[in-house]
């Protein structure tokens, strides 16, 4: 998808860096990188995965300011010069002349020392170089870097590396997508997914499943994607972004398989859960959601199209909705032709073709509600059916619509007209109860999900007691025990 923006919340500012350098406003990138490396170190030593995720977030915030010399200098600091990783990575980073001297002078305060030999640092270097190469559009080198990192990852099995590993996998797939060689890596991705499942690496499993689905959907292999998705193990989502992606791909698969209700739910949920910065992703979700709602026979409200920042992208879909709402086949055909290039780019063209029969149904429904009796020739004229025998076609279309339950009427063949049945009082049927039930179920579901999503600050129950506190506590317990023993004695 061309608009798949990196959905990372770069809202967490590099707080660590900002706090420590009030006097020097322009901290060099290298200093930031060193800070990040120290965070990773601390995280790996205390086995806290959260710190590593934070380090990754800080890196993404730095992305735009990375320059070749910073990367080269960081590599020199972080990796021991004799390791093969260093040799490989420095070869990939282009050399820049001059300005080598500025680096060392820019960081007077807070000398950060980095321990060599931690695998997390090594993998982090791979990640950094990969991001840098992709941003500078050096795709071939990026591919070599990615393949080397995947080979290195196969030998590691540590939970703390998982976060970095999953990022590496996504960039690996991204770089292949940019150079149109996605089909080649399918085997590798499948093997990696197997490995992640064996290691119980849930974040990796999630990421790889999404990457595989994206791979299949890129080539329109919907049935293979569905087979994989139905057999892969499912569990609670670890990362909101991955969950949104999963819902989007699921929605697309369900749409193609004509299960519009499930598709609508998934797509709308994906659009809701996505962070507001991921505009491209939300636009795509909304496009598909609009088409699915049209295929279900309901018209999306105008506010959907007027959302901030999406108005221009959704204009073709707005005109399409208009044509379907009015029930006018001519208008529908002209809109479909006018925007056919947009629809082909979005790969929604086949779905639009399916909409034709919805247009007819909506038109027919409007006619049936407004007329109690109307001749078939008039129906054919209103629907603007172009065929050799419009009346006969209109008759069969109406018959099929009646059979499918779209309209409530009977045809009188001898006189050639359609008689609509009385609508009756809807409140005396079960309709209100059914509508009520769906709304109640939705609210209850949302309540349950909100409660489940409550998070308590982790490690609040694992506070290590200091020696004094422990002494105090033991003393208190002794007193309490003595007190209870005395009470017992008193009773006798």
């Amino acid at each position: 998808m061309p608009e798949d923006v990196e959905m990372n919340d770069s809202q967490v500012p590099p707080a660590a860096a900002a706090a420590s350098d009030a006097p020097a406003p322009a901290q060099s990138t290298l200093h930031h990188l060193k800070e990040i490396a120290s965070v990773i170190e601390a995280g790996s030593l205390s086995k806290e995965v959260r710190r590593i995720s934070r380090a990754v977030r800080l890196t993404i915030a730095l992305r735009r300011r990375l320059a070749a010399r910073d990367v080269a200098a960081f590599l020199a600091l972080a990796l021991s010069p004799s390791s093969e990783a260093f040799a490989r990575l420095s070869a990939l980073v282009p050399k820049e002349d001059g300005s080598e001297m500025d680096v060392d002078m820019a960081a007077p305060t807070a000398q950060v020392s980095i321990k060599h030999g931690l695998p997390e640092i090594e993998i982090y270097c791979y990640l950094l170089v990969l991001i840098f190469l992709i941003d500078n559009k050096k795709y071939d080198e990026a591919k070599t870097c990615a393949s080397a990192s995947i080979a290195r990852l196969k030998s590691l099995n540590r939970r703390t590396v998982d976060v970095l590993a999953s990022r590496l996998y996504s960039y690996y797939s991204y770089v292949h997508e940019l150079t149109n060689t996605l089909a080649d890596i399918r085997g590798t991705l499948l093997a990696l997914h197997r490995m992640a499942t064996l290691h119980h690496d849930e974040l990796g499993q999630e990421t790889l499943l999404n990457l595989l689905l994206r791979n299949y959907l890129h080539y329109n292999l919907y049935d293979q994607a569905e087979k994989l998705r139905s057999k892969a193990p499912r569990f609670e989502a670890h990362s909101n972004q991955q969950f949104c992606r999963y819902l989007f791909y699921l929605g697309k698969i369900r749409t193609i398989q004509l299960e519009y209700t499930d598709a609508k739910e998934s797509l709308l949920q994906a659009a809701r859960k996505a962070p507001t910065t991921a505009r491209g992703f939300r636009i795509q979700c909304n496009k598909w959601a609009i088409i699915v709602r049209l295929l279900l026979g309901e018209i999306p409200e105008r506010t959907v199209f007027m959302q901030k920042g999406m108005k221009a992208a959704l204009t073709p879909y707005f005109e399409l909705t208009n044509a379907v709402r009015v029930g006018d086949l001519e208008l529908f055909r002209s809109v479909a032709d006018k925007y056919s290039s947009t629809f082909s780019a979005d790969r929604t063209r086949n779905l639009i073709v399916r909409l034709r029969h919805n247009v007819i149904r909506t038109g027919l429904r409007n006619i049936s509600i407004s007329y109690s009796r109307i001749s078939l020739a008039d129906i054919a004229k209103k629907l603007r059916l172009d065929s050799e025998n419009p009346v006969a076609d209109a008759e069969s279309i109406v018959a099929k619509a009646i059979r499918d339950g779209a309209i409530d009427a009977t045809i009188d063949h001898a006189n050639g007209w359609m008689v609509s049945k009385e609508t009756g009082d809807v409140y005396s049927t079960n309709e209100p109860q059914i509508a009520f039930n769906s709304r109640i179920a939705f609210c209850l579901n949302m309540h349950n999900e909100a409660v489940k999503a409550l998070r308590f600050p982790p490690n609040s129950h694992k506070e290590k007691e200091s020696a004094e506190k422990r002494r105090e506590r033991l003393q208190q317990e002794e007193e309490l025990a003595k007190h209870m023993a005395e009470e017992d004695d008193d009773d006798f």
Partner: protein
């Protein structure tokens, strides 16, 4: 194995000859031999690259194409489905290696049509997604797509025209099946939409050619239709009871609300 390749080429020539002559038994026997030969060719499945890979893949593809046509002629549905699936794999995976077969779209169209009478519409659309954009302009594929659209819309008169205008003679065999399913659809729709129909009109709508066939059909398939004064009454008035409360459903709903309220998540 060059000798295996030559033998296969020879037998393939005999097979296509037999197909053209409608010589079905020898065709089936030859096909069995050819399939055994295929297992001896080294580049299928594509685990290793042999120098003969291209010719072997081409031969395998042509073998399966002929297999499909043969199974159509002997009206073996399962074999037809199986051979088409295998042929499809060749089309999907070898388009990088050599040029498309000239019959590719014809066979893909056959695949699409096969799914229609069995009402496997979701598979139909999934298959449609596989096709590249220019495929939709090819007459065979366009035929299948328009047929499905008419099915969905309900313009059954157009469907009758379609049945006449097949783009390829191999499609003729599938047309009977499609015509049958169309007829079933029309019957369903007419039963709901009309209270009664004159016999002549009904016969024309259901595409029967003679009254005798029509009456046979009615007596076999639709015993509840009544024929009175040259018109068919589809069903005697079955008053729908509006006031059934579906109490079971309401009880279930109320119980689920109570359960949710008391539940500790």
């Amino acid at each position: 194995m060059d000798s295996g390749l030559e033998e296969a080429t020879q037998k393939l020539a005999w097979l296509s000859f037999a197909c053209a002559r409608d010589d079905l038994e020898s065709g089936v026997a030859l096909l069995a031999e050819l399939k055994v030969l295929l297992t001896r060719l080294h580049s299928l499945p594509p685990l290793e690259k042999t120098p003969n890979a291209v010719e072997e893949l081409k031969i395998a593809r042509t073998i399966y194409e002929n297999a499909v046509i043969l199974s159509l002629k002997i009206k073996d549905d399962e074999a037809f489905g199986r051979n088409l699936c295998q042929l499809k794999e060749f089309y999907i995976n070898t388009w990088l290696v050599f040029a498309r077969s000239p019959y590719e779209y014809q066979f893909l169209g056959l695949n699409l049509l096969r799914l229609l009478p069995e009402n496997r519409i979701s598979e139909f659309h999934t298959e449609l997604e596989h096709l590249p954009l220019e495929a939709l302009n090819h007459p065979c594929i366009k035929y299948a797509v328009e047929l499905e659209q008419s099915f969905m819309e309900g313009t059954y008169k157009q469907l009758a025209n379609f049945c006449q205008a097949v783009p390829n003679e191999t499609y003729v065999y599938l047309m009977d099946r499609i015509a049958e399913s169309v007829r079933d659809e029309i019957v369903d729709c007419s039963v709901e939409a009309y209270d009664y129909l004159p016999v002549s009109v009904a016969k024309k709508m259901l595409m029967f050619t003679s009254y005798r066939e029509f009456f046979e059909y009615i007596s076999e398939e639709q015993p509840e239709w009544e024929i009175k004064n040259c018109s068919i009454h589809f069903h005697m008035a079955k008053p729908k009871s509006h006031m059934d409360l579906s109490s079971f459903k309401l009880i279930k709903q109320a119980l689920s609300y109570a359960q949710e309220l008391e539940q500790i998540v």
